[in-house]
């Protein structure tokens, strides 16, 4: 199974194993918008 594509400058390539593991961990931890948004009033 191919890994997600990233772009560095003008070059595209698949994530390395380490990059893929980091990205998966970020998504799994939901270390993104939903957990950081303060109370919506």
């Amino acid at each position: 199974m191919s890994k997600p594509i990233i772009q560095i400058g003008n070059e595209q390539r698949e994530m390395t194993d380490a990059e893929f593991a980091q990205w998966q961990a970020d998504v799994a931890a939901n270390n993104q918008e939903s957990t950081r948004e303060s109370a919506v009033s």
Binding site: I8, Q12, D26, Q32, R36, E37, S38
Partner: protein, 254 residues
């Protein structure tokens, strides 16, 4: 009318015998090239040389500029030095999970930078983050702080959607609904290449993925350690999801 003023731009015919005046006019209407201002000044007014007059142009090799003589002094055509804001890199990205500025985008040449990101398509509702980068690797240490004040387009009083996070492993860069693309970001990045905390001031807007509202957030991003960075990554939570454009500019120090 000055000595360089023309009343016509002639076209000569085959076999026509040109007069000295016609040849002089032809020779004089081009832009002479000089090594420097000393050579330029020595080229006019001497024996067998043209008398300097208003409208004369020249090109100087040592400074790569075009000048004109206004009747009293030489003046430079266009800016006399590079603009204060210099485009360093940019381009398009298509259907990627993240994009990173080229290595060594941030250098000792500039202290501060401006970044523009403009998304034109997102394949699924996505969250975005940014990380600073050094020598080809994103920094995922828990030194990122995001302080952003948001305003929602709906709600009678303008619903706020603020961000106040510290000790995070990335900066908050908002989100985007896949159906209605609004995402745009501009940030000034302060001293990423200096051994000091990196700070960003700016804003981004997007279409909220849950409620379909347009949101603008403005504020600051702060990396609290003193790591020196040469690049930055913009990361989507959805694989191969983002398409758009980016540009990075450097602020000249002087």
């Amino acid at each position: 009318m000055g000595a360089n003023a023309q009343t016509a731009v002639p076209t000569f015919t085959t076999g026509q015998v040109l007069t000295a005046d016609q040849m002089n006019q032809s020779a004089r209407t081009g832009v002479p090239v000089f090594a420097d201002t000393t050579a330029r000044d020595a080229a006019f007014g001497g024996s067998g040389e043209k008398t300097l007059a208003e409208g004369q142009l020249c090109y100087l090799e040592d400074s790569n500029i075009v000048q004109y003589y206004d009747g009293a002094a030489w003046a430079t055509v266009g800016p006399t030095s590079a603009s204060g804001l210099v485009r360093l890199t940019g381009g398009a990205f298509t259907a990627v999970t993240s994009f990173s500025l080229p290595n060594s985008t941030f250098t000792a040449t500039y202290r501060n930078y401006r970044i523009h990101i403009d998304l034109t398509a997102v394949t699924a509702d996505a969250d975005f983050t940014m990380r600073l980068r050094a020598s080809g690797t994103d920094d995922s240490t828990a030194n990122y702080r995001s302080l952003l004040q948001g305003l929602n387009t709906t709600g009678a009083t303008g619903t706020v959607v603020n961000i106040n996070s510290s000790g995070a492993t990335s900066w908050n860069a908002g989100e985007q609904d896949a159906a209605v693309i609004r995402y745009a970001l501009e940030f000034d990045v302060m001293s990423p290449q200096i051994a000091a905390p990196t700070r960003c001031l700016g804003q981004y807007m997007y279409r909220d993925k849950a409620n379909g509202d347009d949101i603008i957030r403005t504020g600051a991003l702060h990396f609290t350690a003193t790591t020196q960075f040469d690049s930055l990554s913009f990361i989507s939570s959805i694989a191969n999801s983002i398409t758009g454009y980016y540009n990075v500019y450097g602020y000249l120090n002087s």
